[in-house]
Amino acid sequence: MKAPSPRLNAYCKFHIVIITIAIFLAQGCSFRFIAPYDEKTEEAIFDASKLVDQFYGKLLDTAEDEREYSKFSEQYVLIESELKTLVFRNKVRSLNEDSTDICERILKLWRKYKEKHKSKDTYSTGTAKLDRNRFSRMFSYAARAEGAKKPNN
């Protein structure tokens, strides 16, 4: 049997290398810096943002001397649960530390304001307006962070 020519040998080697790289790529190997976009998480951010804003809307609609904690305790618990779920949704995804951080900070402030309302048994209008605005901004950051992950964003 005739030995393969050097030229044929180089031709075969070249194609073996190309096919090997192709197989490597086909197995979905890729470099990732950040978690992929998750539509359900983005929806959860918008839903939570709406709940918080509605909470403050109702609070501010209530006369300042009628804002006992007991009137709002159920909503506090409901919203805290939503926020904890949002943190969890982000935390279980790898390469998602930034989004997790934003949601954890939102939850932290929610709990702080809840405890303050509970201990003072009131929530002043001036403070409520500022806190509402703060949450709105933080939710916009959470939404931006998730939306940025969309392909071709």
């Binding site: 790529l25 890729s30 930034d98 989004s99 900070r105 932290k108 402030l109 500022l130 703060r134 962070a145």
Partner: protein
Amino acid sequence: MSFDLNKTLEDMLAAAKAVFGDEWPDAKDDMQRVLNDEKEALKDIAEARIRGEINDEELEEQLKDEKEAFEAGLSMVSASTKATIQHALNAASEVFWNAVRAAI
């Protein structure tokens, strides 16, 4: 003691630019947004104090809470910058993969 908010925010922007380095063009718009948000928030807090809507203790708490919001903003900038780099890498990978497929 006077506090020049605009100058302080300009200095913060410059500091962020130095940190981001080559990624600054990708981070700039989001960083600017966070700093503008912060500027407006601090103005609102100051005005609320001046109007007597919050007292000194509440003012201090508001400023502490603004730190949380600002840090959240920085996380947002970090995420969006990483996402921009990811999209660029994905596009480059796509080009390479298409070229390999054409060569096979």
